[in-house]
Symmetry: D2
Subunit: 261 residues, 4 copies
């Protein structure tokens, strides 16, 4: 079963910034999709901010097993409607992976319920990622640590809820640490945040980073059919209660009425 | 140190529905505040939907240690601005307790990042709450289980993230179960969801329910000063890095520039 | 990749008790292994208390992807050496599933670090299991609830640590509730506790129960190679530190010395 | 209500090693107890390995709200009986704080159910602890990071279960990271692991470290009465079931019989 992946890219700095365009002549999302397809077991395509509905129509999300999100300069341009649609797809079972500056993207903040802030420094310093959960599927085939010689620093405290599992923690040359790989579940959807990937460095050309993203796609994929009507709050009528009961006391609702929302 | 509590009530059915007005002649929020004040260690006041800014101005939230939220018929009438203000107060350290139908309130959904849905039945059936975390501060002084002879049923699956701790699970006469007491943390704020409290039954006159709410207030209170600028993402300049580093590689940002949001 | 499963059975009541022998003429472990093999993707064999080293030699565990454990009357007869060997296999990546009365087995208590106690009643009452984590891989293909007409009751509080995820909660006819499906991780090993399976009832002939166990085997399997020397605490010499450092201050340990344990 | 603390010290290197004796002329446990008493709200005494029953009789544990544990060279000399007694006290509500090399102590391994291993280097390098959970009670009054100029390095992966909360993460000069402050709950007992404290450095004279330990004592204290018979698995007789049920089907147990353990 091939995992159907959409790599969503903001696609701004690749078009406007010569440094970024030079490092990623095929764009960042294009590069990530290409390496995923090369890694196998995955069929990855791309979508961008500039497309109608940002390339994320209801039809497309229904056929997406795992969505990867990279954004930075244009978080505010993502529509609230698409944000909510993405969140609903996650709740109903779509996996999602947020990369680097996507910590401030609308879908990530929507799913976390927290500020998602951090401290940062753009100095091209050394980052070293340590695996904190040995043999976690997302760390499969990796050494116990690996380095990125030039990266932007992200520092704690990271304004997110306590994760399900902490998979990576980063050491930075300038003295900070950061929880770089965190798993969450929101509804039936698996969520992974992965820190590296500042656009002025060749991070997504790094073999270890590529392996993490490929592993995370396989981990995030939920093979089961998507949950229908995932936000519904169904009434369970007295007449069909699993154990026989008799209605008692005063009521607000008429039979068959929907609940308040 | 007295814990400053605001009990927020939607205040709709107390005014419009004779049954509810009969059970709660002092309103639901008024009743809860009164019993908290009688229990000691707490200074509880009330706020309602109908007041300007729903009674929750920035000034008032700054002086609130723990906010209690009950709403049902008018979730949609709560303004997005007040919802966001409440969320920020929680992140910065205010405790919050959501009661019963507040599972569908805007602040709860905002903080959870999930649908927060469930199944339900209004039949006045018996509910029995079991303590699943022995000696949890929220269960202090309670027996290992207690009953509410007439309650609305809420059934699993409950559309919330995996909690920090499950404190209560309910058994329902009609055959369902529900995780009735769940703790979360969002930023520096302690969050507790407590299931019982349908407005057509005298639940908030029950001594065990009152004890849970009083315990939860003491548990949710964070004695430390509120965090300022809780959503800020500060830049850490190269010049003042904790370990001496030299800037390397290309950059997006000018010195002193704010990050993208 | 076929998942290699060993179903461990205490094998006491099947030999001594006519009722149990009548329900499980092929033994409980034999029945579970047979249904797993029939479900596909799995190669299941059995091991019992009475075999040398309880059938769980180091060699056998090394070739076991997932171990299933059922015990009840003879927990105390399991050797401490085998218990520790099983725990080490789990830490290094073997999955493990504990069924019913195995809540009091030595390996479960060893891995949990808690009393693992509960309340109980043997009255053949109705149990209804509710799925609390929609589309969890362990609940794949199940309805949102299912019933076992005759089961032993287990009641909360269940003396275990807060789980990674709660997958099932049981409703009992006599008024109790129980967290019936709980996931944990211990080292690289996935752990699942599943409540049903009292030996005087035909629980392991139930299609839904069989599906849960099969799903749990697939979920617990960790495809990666087992971690070698999983309890080792390696010294990281100054000479090969990842960042150049100079040794400073007084020392307890000579170079190359092992740490205290 | 004064919190009654016992600081347990192995008391070996203070007696045998001149460096350690020079830094801690009042012993390590004596120093920690002294600073706790000076901080207020606490009544701290000490106990050591060499005393009968290691100074931890059942009577003494019954009167201890929070136990602090430091050991290193003589983990193996701690009796299994005292280890189990400590674990039971924790389950029944006693708080416990494990310091530094106590990661390999018998009580910590007993409560975690995992190897509790790590990598290490004794080179007097710089450690910087970052607060990852803002305004956590254990971090009250601390800056967002603090440094220890000379410490032993502990590196990930740390062989412990996923914690309830991660409060501190350490950066090390030599390039490693470590989850330095972790909370757990075992039964009714709050558990905190805090990394710093190698005996050849003056760590427990550091004001920030002292503040963390004092905060952790207040956090770990559970004001409720200790749970009696915390490992018991009571039978719930059919006759007194909360909902009327009739016994059905075959049975293993006679009425009033104890369950198997």
């Amino acid at each position: 079963m091939t995992v159907r992946v959409v790599v969503w890219g903001e696609n701004v700095h690749e078009q406007k910034n010569k440094v970024v365009a030079g490092i990623y002549p095929k764009t960042m999302h294009g590069t990530i999709a290409e390496t995923l397809n090369a890694a196998g077991g995955v069929s990855a395509t791309t979508a961008t901010l500039q497309e109608p509905e940002h390339g994320l129509t209801a039809e497309r999300l229904a056929e997406t097993d795992v969505l990867i999100w990279w954004g930075h300069a244009a978080h505010g341009d993502v529509s609230d409607a698409v944000t909510e649609r993405v969140a609903e797809a996650v709740w109903s079972g779509m996996g999602i992976i947020f990369l680097h500056s996507a910590h401030f993207s609308k879908p990530f903040k929507r799913l976390m319920g927290t500020p998602c802030n951090l401290s940062w420094r753009e100095a091209g310093e050394r980052e070293r990622l340590w695996v904190t959960s040995r043999n976690h599927p997302i760390a499969a085939g990796l050494p116990d640590h690996f380095e990125l010689e030039n990266e932007e620093m992200y520092g704690e405290p990271f304004g997110v809820p306590e994760p399900l599992e902490t998979v990576f923690i980063s050491w930075f040359q300038g003295g900070e640490v950061f929880r770089s790989g965190l798993t969450y579940k929101r509804g039936a959807g698996n969520v992974f945040y992965f820190r590296p990937g500042h656009e002025t460095y060749p991070t997504y050309h790094d073999a270890n980073v590529q392996k993490v993203i490929h592993n995370a796609v396989l981990w995030a994929n939920n093979a089961q059919p998507r949950i229908a009507k995932v936000t519904e709050a169904p009434n369970a009528p007295v007449e069909t209660a699993l154990e026989p009961i008799t209605e008692r006391g005063p009521k607000l609702h008429e039979a068959g009425e929907e609940g308040y929302r």
